[in-house]
């Protein structure tokens, strides 16, 4: 009795092993596709993973973690302030004037001086608040004596930590400014008028604010979205025979790997693929799928995988064909 049970269970076990090992091999489809590897695509990824926003995000994280380092970076000018507080206040005023009235900018002749001024401008922006605080406190306490001044400076330094936290966003925008506009700013300083300078500064501030907002709420910044769009524009060969007065929108949901390669694609309106009278939709959907295959790995941000691991691409040919 037991022998039979053991034999039966042994045979069953054997069949299960056979099924798991050999059957999937036997049932393999005749055409087994290995993943596509293209040298060019790899080159594209190297070039494209340099959008501004991921760097900005890196900086945010760095700012969070490396507050002390930032303190040390900001420290040197403040040490000078400690030694000559009166001069520091004067300088601060000048700086404020420089920012508001860039008359002082074109006066210097040598490029080095200009770069120095730029650096000076870059540093004081986040300190404005602290400096304003300084000046307010100074006015209250009548900063005539050196001891009093030193005490105030110490107080301000103590208060600097929370102040830095308050001004994080501004610091980030500064870093972005540096990255995006450093060369143009120098050019602007040399070539353009003061008014233009002021305008560029305003513009950069606007851009960074919107980028921050996008990062928090929509998932991709404008630059990230543009990079992805530009990549797909190049890959998507639109079938020209489509009826341009029909609904030519194909929505495809993607599941992505952290490197931007595609794990899974899903045509959301799949029912239309085989709908009578809408044969064009299948052609359009296939062209969109080809574009995704051709473009992968997609130009996605280097950070924030959780945000974009699921992505929906809306391929709309109406603008191209209907226009």
């Amino acid at each position: 009795m037991y022998k039979n049970i053991i034999a039966s269970s042994g045979l069953h076990f054997g069949i299960i092993i056979l099924a798991t090992l050999s059957w999937p091999f036997l049932s393999k489809k005749p055409i087994d596709l290995p993943p596509l590897i293209s040298v060019e695509l790899i080159q594209i990824t190297d070039q494209t993973n340099i959008p501004y926003a991921p760097k900005a995000k890196k900086i945010i994280e760095k700012v969070k973690k490396e507050q002390e380092k930032l303190m040390s970076e900001q420290a040197p000018p403040k040490k000078i302030k400690k030694e000559k507080p009166k001069e520091v206040t004067k300088l601060d005023k000048k700086k404020e004037i420089v920012v508001e009235n860039p008359k002082a900018v074109p006066k210097p002749d040598k490029n080095k001086e200009k770069i120095k001024e730029l650096k000076e401008e870059a540093i004081p922006l986040p300190d404005k608040k602290t400096e304003v605080l300084k000046s307010k406190k100074e006015t209250k306490q009548n900063p005539s004596k050196d001891k009093k001044l030193q005490k105030k400076i110490k107080k301000v330094q103590k208060n600097q930590k929370p102040n830095i936290e308050d001004t994080k966003v501004k610091q980030i925008s500064e870093f972005e400014k540096k990255e995006i506009f450093d060369p143009t700013n120098i050019a602007a300083l040399i070539d353009k008028s003061k008014e233009e300078l002021g305008e560029t500064k305003k513009k950069t501030n606007k851009i960074t604010q919107s980028q921050d907002k996008n990062m928090e709420f929509s998932g991709l910044t404008l630059s990230e979205e543009d990079a992805l769009k530009a990549q797909l524009f190049g890959c998507w060969s639109i079938p020209l025979g489509l009826p341009y007065n029909e609904n030519l929108l194909v929505r495809i949901k993607l599941k992505l790997k952290p490197d931007g390669s595609v794990i899974k694609t899903e045509v959301l309106d799949h029912a239309r693929m085989n709908k009578p009278g809408e044969s064009f939709y299948k052609v359009l959907a296939e062209s969109a799928l080809r574009a995704i295959q051709l473009c992968q790995p997609l130009r996605v941000p280097t950070k924030g995988y959780e945000r974009w691991k699921d992505l929906q691409l809306n391929f709309d040919a109406r603008e191209m064909l209907g226009g």
């Binding site: 991709l220 025979g241 052609v283 296939e286 391929f315 709309d316």
Partner: protein, 448 residues
């Protein structure tokens, strides 16, 4: 216990997990570059190879058919057939099991493979269309025919591939009828000629004894209507290409010209001129009943039906200048649709119904253009010293016309050739004809 549950539940609400809404990116632009396609030679085994070589005196029929397909795809402007030198896989293996990575490596997005079999004096051609990037088969068909039709098989395969990849019917298995011209301008010999759309299989239908003009294909069968100056009397004739029988259309006491078929092929619409006035008439081919459509003292000519047969576009000088008008099929509700500068003529309604092609003369230059049936959206596709007579491909994507160019500096010599242009206006191609050619007319698809 209940408190514990409540606590756990409330924790879910207090500490929600971090989640992101699905990011959507709109892709509203793409490229209009020709799609890279690999057309592999069609494989044939040794027996077939030698049998076909003996039968057709062609070394490698599979290769020749693939060349026909390649040429068609290239001419369309929508595809870029890749050089066969770059192919890594041989035709026999490619047809059975393509290594997609090899084809992707040469940047092919679609692959055509096939096989040629010659059995019982019949040619059987199998072909498959593959999506290289998706790694799947898109289309698989087989055709059986007499071996002499091998070029047509190539055209039919192209039509199927074109339809599968672009979403609209092809136009490759078609023929073009035109007027072949030889001799000096004052003593021009004009013959009716017919050829495949790629310029091959050219045949003459008339001997050149009479002047022939404006041949037009029937949209439903292999009938042609044209104008012939038989015994110096210009009349509209009807010719059956298969049988060669021709006859005069209608019993009009004067000159009839500018004929064209109705969309169902049952009527011929044309102009009839008498006493310096010309109006538009129709004639039923079966019953021979004639019907007057316009009745105006101006010159009404070049009528063309809309594909549904309900409207007719024509040109008329009733406003003082030659312009394009649209009317109901019974001649009512005449409405002018061309309002641009210059003169407009030869309106031809697209088989898709969405556009009307025309010839425009403005400041000494001739243009081929299109406009919507309401006259809006006029687009000029090509301009030249002299060009006219546009005719639509059966899918309404390409126009064929003829263009005269000066061959001498003093302007005495000239050459007339057929050209095609697609609706984008960029893909302009010369159609090779042995002689000078004019007045082309595109047939409908020979196989549906």
């Amino acid at each position: 216990m209940k408190k514990l549950y409540f606590l756990i539940l409330s924790l879910f609400f207090i500490f929600p997990t971090k989640s992101f809404s699905l990011i959507e990116v709109d892709i509203t632009r793409g490229n209009l570059n020709p799609l890279p396609v690999a057309v592999s030679s069609l494989f044939s085994n040794e027996q077939t190879y030698f049998d076909l070589k003996k039968e057709l005196k062609i070394n490698d029929l599979g290769l020749e058919i693939s060349k026909v397909i390649e040429n068609n795809l290239r001419q369309s402007g929508l595809f870029n057939p890749l050089s066969k030198d770059a192919f890594l896989q041989k035709p026999d293996i490619a047809h059975l099991k393509p290594r997609f990575e090899d084809w992707a490596l040469i940047k092919a997005q679609a692959l055509i493979t096939g096989k040629v079999i010659f059995e019982d004096d019949k040619l059987r051609v199998e072909f498959r269309l593959w999506d290289v990037l998706a790694g799947k088969e898109m289309l698989a068909l087989a055709f059986t025919t007499v071996s002499k039709n091998w070029r047509r098989v190539g055209h039919i395969i192209t039509d199927k591939v074109y339809e599968r990849l672009t979403g609209e019917k092809g136009y490759f298995d078609t023929r073009i009828i035109y007027v072949s011209e030889v001799g000096p301008k004052t003593q021009r010999i004009k013959k009716l000629a017919i050829m495949d759309q790629d310029g091959f299989n050219n045949k003459y239908l008339t001997l050149g004894n009479e002047l022939v003009l404006t041949p037009r294909f029937s949209p439903t069968n292999q009938m042609v209507t044209y104008l012939s100056y038989f015994r110096n009397l210009p009349r509209v004739y009807l010719l059956d290409i298969e049988t060669g029988i021709q006859e005069v259309v209608g019993d009009f006491p004067g000159m009839t010209f500018a004929p064209r078929f109705s969309p169902d092929g049952n009527k011929i619409i044309m102009s009839f001129a008498k006493d310096g006035n010309s109006d538009i008439y129709t004639m039923d081919i079966e019953s021979r009943i004639q019907q007057r459509i316009t009745n105006h003292p101006s010159i009404d000519t070049s009528p063309s039906y809309s594909p549904d047969g309900n409207n007719i576009a024509f040109n008329s000088d009733r406003s003082g200048y030659q312009q394009i008008y649209v009317m109901r099929r019974d001649g009512s509700k005449v409405k002018r649709i061309s309002f641009g500068n210059g003169l407009y003529g030869t309106p031809v309604w697209s088989p898709r119904g969405d556009l009307i092609a025309f010839t425009k003369l403005h400041k000494g230059k001739f243009y081929i253009g299109v406009m919507r049936p309401d006259g809006k959206g006029e687009r000029l596709l090509t301009e030249n010293y002299y060009q006219e007579a546009p005719s639509w491909s059966p899918n309404g994507r390409v126009l064929i016309f003829y263009r005269e160019t000066k061959t001498d500096d003093d302007g005495t010599g000239f050459s007339a050739k057929l050209w095609s242009i697609d609706l984008t206006g960029y893909n302009e191609k010369l159609i090779d004809t042995k002689t000078d050619a004019s007045d082309p007319s595109w047939s409908s698809l020979l196989t549906n």
